[in-house]
Amino acid sequence: MSTEIEVENLTRRFGPHTVLSGVNLAVRPGELLALLGPSGSGKTTLLRLIAGLDTPDGGAIRFDSHNALGRKPKERGVGFVFQHYALFRHMSVFENIAFSLRIRRAKNPEVKARVEELLKLIQLESLAARYPAQLSGGQRQRVALARALASQPRVLLLDEPFGALDAVVRRDLRRWLRHLHEEMNITTLFVTHDQEEAFDLADRVVIMNAGKICQMGTPIEIYRTPANAFVHEFLGESNKLPVTLANGIVTADAGFSLGHAEAPDGPMTAYIRPHHVVPAPDASGPWLITRLTATGAQARVTLANGPAALEATMTADELIASTLQTGQLTAIKILNGTLFDADGQGAVKFKARDGAELVSETCNHSC
């Protein structure tokens, strides 16, 4: 009974700024979808357009194949949770949750039963008489969620739901939301700029940048095959090396070979995750270890080879076992990486030079 949402060629301009340009998106029924992107990427605008809090300049939004534009949020059946909760400050927790029921003039016993049910769901039965100012951030967010759920929306939209909370509360609430979603199975979209949050919580993640959708897929898909240089850099640290491709061989402009890739000849940029760079102690190796740092469980090795510089990460235990020292020379192995052209597009995977098989995956997304 979940709702399917289709967004087609959606455009929104604020004065001279185009905040969304031609966005297409299909949200599957019952899905938990994250809109992930840096601030200003248009993700909140997209969410507000889907909610009906804002009107697009062009394009279409359909709920279960029915045109949703021109219909109010209530008529679309959406529940919206705001980043700063937006609880009614002059109403108790009970009245906040009861608001939508009072608006549609539900009978008192019905209101009481529904609100108590929701209070139980958010585990705040004892705080029904409190006012928002007397609650902690996490409690306020749960009340906001209960309020949005009170009139049984078909679609739940959350704008940076955990943005203003501290790390521990955020993790707890995240698990709790996941659990809640599994129980209720309503189509849910949430906006976040936190990669960990998006990957941990969502079935699928939509990466947005500069008013467009860059890539959409499961967290694993997106992380392993980023569609463009922006996605690669946004989803964690990246080493960048200018390279030249000739006859399927990837050669760094600094003069060493990186491996094989199946792509046309020409200059490209190799993006390599630091944990795919593995130093292999070899006193005659070309790389100089310029710096070693350990931050808790993770260790970082900075390497230089003429003009080329790379960072490698490993666990602190691995670093201690490896006997690497600052000032030492070493060889390295680059397990794999991704090549992008000058526009940051045309993603091609490359694999280490001693890799047994030639692997190449191309992405057809564009950004």
Partner: protein, 274 residues
């Protein structure tokens, strides 16, 4: 330390000299001949009329400015439109113009030789030297009190709660009555309190437009002057004591509001001093 004590002493001396002593003087003069004389002065038909007129003017001017303040804060805080900053500036005009000038402007508009004077007298409508003029003058002078208090508060509170109400299915009037108005209630009350004190105490503008017809277009503050000038000191001080009491009550209520709801009212304070 010495400087601090000196400054505090100076401030206290100033307060006593200009506020406490006159207040005590007003009450002692008013009660000098005993309570009986005090009350008979207030029961005098002309004085009773002045009290009635003052209450009547305030009863029209304050609600009018309350409604205006709500409308102004609503459109300034919720919408971004051309001329928004100009409107904010215009609201302050009654504060920066002398009340006497305000009254004079009204005479120039509605007086017999005024812009609309001919049309008004032809239609037998009297504004100047009558109640409508006094209400207009008072409303103009007390115009900014509610608006100035509520606009910064509404701006600080933003529109998120209203948007939440929209997603929860509320229509325009539901949002207004259930969300926007209650959010502002303490700021509104505070503004109304100050507006009322000023409306009842207004002298300059009302004095110009009223014509000071004793027993007819006499408010309390005008009556104080006219009684004093006709050497009815007892009665003058009796009426003055009523106005002084109004001021004291207003101050106490204001302090109470500031203490209970300082978080909400603080928005207004900060914006005003900024």
């Amino acid at each position: 330390m010495v400087v601090r004590r000196l400054l505090i002493t100076a401030a206290l001396l100033f307060l006593v000299l200009f506020l406490v002593l006159p207040l005590i003087d007003v009450f002692s003069q008013a009660l000098a001949a005993g309570l009986g004389v005090y009350f008979s002065a207030l029961y005098d038909p002309n004085v009773a009329d002045a009290i009635y007129l003052t209450l009547l003017i305030a009863a029209v001017a304050v609600p009018a400015n309350l409604v205006f303040g709500i409308c102004a804060s609503w459109c300034i805080a919720k919408f971004d439109f051309f001329g928004r900053n100009l409107l904010i500036t215009l609201i302050d005009i009654p504060f920066s113009i002398s009340p006497v000038i305000a009254g004079l402007l009204e005479v120039l508009m509605f007086g017999l030789n005024g812009l609309l004077g001919g049309w008004l007298s032809a239609n037998n409508i009297q504004i100047i030297f009558a109640l409508p003029g006094m209400i207009l003058a008072t409303t103009f002078v007390t115009f900014p009190f509610v608006a100035r208090e509520v606009i910064p508060l509404a701006q600080e509170q933003g529109v998120e709660e209203e948007e939440a109400a929209v997603t929860l299915g509320a229509g325009f009037f539901s949002i207004f009555w259930r969300v926007s108005l209650p959010k502002l209630r303490w700021g509104l009350l505070y503004g109304v309190l100050l507006c009322n004190a000023r409306a009842m105490g207004e002298f300059g503008a009302v004095s110009v437009v009223s014509g000071k017809i004793f027993g007819q277009t006499d408010t309390m503050s005008l009556a104080v002057e006219s009684l004093y000038e006709s050497y009815e000191l007892q009665a003058a001080f009796a009426v003055a004591s009523l106005l002084a009491m109004l001021a004291v009550v207003t101050l106490v209520l204001k302090a109470g509001l500031e203490w209970r709801h300082r978080d909400e009212l603080a928005a207004g304070r900060r914006k005003k001093t900024a």
